[in-house]
Amino acid sequence: MPDLVKMTIDGAEVNVQAGATVAAAILMSRSGFRRSVHGELRGPVCGMGICFECRATVDGQPQQRTCQLHCKDGMVVNTDE
């Protein structure tokens, strides 16, 4: 069994495989991450830190690109949903 890390996404506790990115972890439960400036729901696109569509608040820090962050034990993630 691969190692698991425990984290919180939008208030729900989830177990995620160690080494996964936060974007992948969020995508398991929802496809929209953020509301655009005019309120449209958006999710990750480029997977490599370029498009900035996968932003969410991670450990209190807003506007983090979740495709560039690896899941860590105890991490708290909040999307715009």
């Binding site: 400036v37 820090q61 807003p62 506007q63």
Partner: protein, 373 residues
């Protein structure tokens, strides 16, 4: 190739030129407004876009106050994209010396019917919780505002056009003796040529005592609620920016997007590249006042050039070297604020009416004979 004679030709559609063209056109003049870039794309787009009452000198105070009132009455007619926001300015005091400056400034503004409020240390902390705790209070100038200036310049240009002004998309290569020569070969004629070319104005009117004063700005990602007022350190005038050497001062603005716009720096430097040394100093200064800015994300940094005069007042009125040339330039860091008043002063001057405030302190002739070729 002569293509026209106008009552007035305005060179440069930055915020000042656009305001002039709109004002003159409304007076019924046949106006041509010339710019090869488009409205508000140079210093107007590069600056912070503040509409502030400043008291560096009595003349500066009168001009900024007069112009701010003009902006406040115009604001209802600006589109939402102009991002006009009457956020007020907080002049923050870092020590007891600056605290006494709060009192002085308060008394002066009150005497001239500018509404201000003295804030204690605690009141300041409530209004702007991200400011560092050890500050000694602040003066709130309620009427100060910010806006996105290129859109305002665009609106003023459209306003001019709707009153019959001709907008000409071409580069001006020379002006003088009632003639304006364009890069495309066209020649325009007028007995009133207004040089509103800002940082480029001395190229068109040699001898003009206007120098480029470079500034840096940085803007963050969107952090709604992080900042609510424009905040400026009180040391802004008395120390950093009065020196001729390179200087930085703390000046931040909330944008309607939730972004924080961070200034400011001053350098006599004609290059346009970002100077990382002074940018770093400017940002360090901002972090001294707002520690949590340090972890905010900076999306973009850029530079612009202010058109600076030796006495820090703009040049508004006839140019002694050529009776067909009039100046509306040299506004340094206050071009957005004072653009509307500049236009009104010149317009009253042209029509022979009494100006709302005395024009004398801004007349180019004040700088003496030696200042022109």
């Amino acid at each position: 190739m002569n293509v026209g004679t106008y009552d007035c030709i305005v060179v440069g559609s930055g915020i000042v030129g656009a305001a002039c063209a709109a004002s003159f056109a409304k007076d019924g003049m046949q106006v041509a407004l010339i710019d090869s870039l488009g409205a508000g794309l140079l210093a107007t787009a590069a600056g912070m876009g503040h509409i502030v009452v400043m008291d560096d000198s009595p003349a500066q105070f009168l001009l900024t106050k007069y112009s701010q009132n003009l902006w406040l009455s115009l604001s209802d007619r600006l589109p939402p994209t102009a991002e006009f926001q009457k956020c007020g300015t907080l002049w923050v005091a870092a020590d007891s010396e600056e605290r006494s400056e709060v009192e002085r400034k308060h008394a002066l503004y009150q005497d001239h019917d500018v509404s201000t409020q003295i804030l204690s240390k605690n009141e300041l902390a409530v209004l702007e919780p991200e400011l560092r705790q050890e500050l000694e209070g602040a003066l709130l100038v309620q009427s100060d505002a910010v806006l996105y200036a290129p859109i305002a310049a665009q609106c003023l240009t459209l306003d001019a056009a709707s009153h019959g002004a001709v907008i000409i998309d071409s580069e001006v290569i020379s002006i003088g003796q009632g003639v304006v020569n364009l890069r495309d070969g066209r020649i325009l004629q007028s007995q009133r040529i207004v040089n509103a070319a800002g940082e480029r104005s001395p190229q068109l009117t040699p001898g003009l005592p206007v120098k480029k004063r470079k500034g840096h700005l940085a803007i963050t990602d969107r952090y709604p609620g992080f900042l609510r007022h424009q905040v400026v350190e009180l040391g802004y005038l008395k120390s950093a920016h009065t020196l001729s050497a390179d200087s930085v001062a703390f000046n931040v603005q909330p944008r309607i997007t939730g972004q924080v716009l961070i200034g400011s720096s001053r350098q006599f430097d004609t290059t346009s590249e970002v100077d990382h040394a002074i940018l770093g100093r400017m940002l360090a200064r901002a972090v001294e006042y707002m520690p949590r800015l340090a972890s905010c994300s900076i999306i973009r940094t850029w530079t612009g050039h202010r058109a600076a005069t030796p006495d820090k007042l703009p040049l508004i009125g006839p140019w002694p070297g050529d009776e067909t040339i009039f100046l509306a330039t040299g506004h340094e860091g206050l071009g957005i604020t004072t653009s509307l008043a500049t236009a009104e002063l010149l317009s009253a001057f042209f029509s022979g009416q009494t100006t709302e405030i005395p024009i004398e302190p801004y007349l180019p002739a004040r700088l003496g004979e030696g200042c022109h070729a």
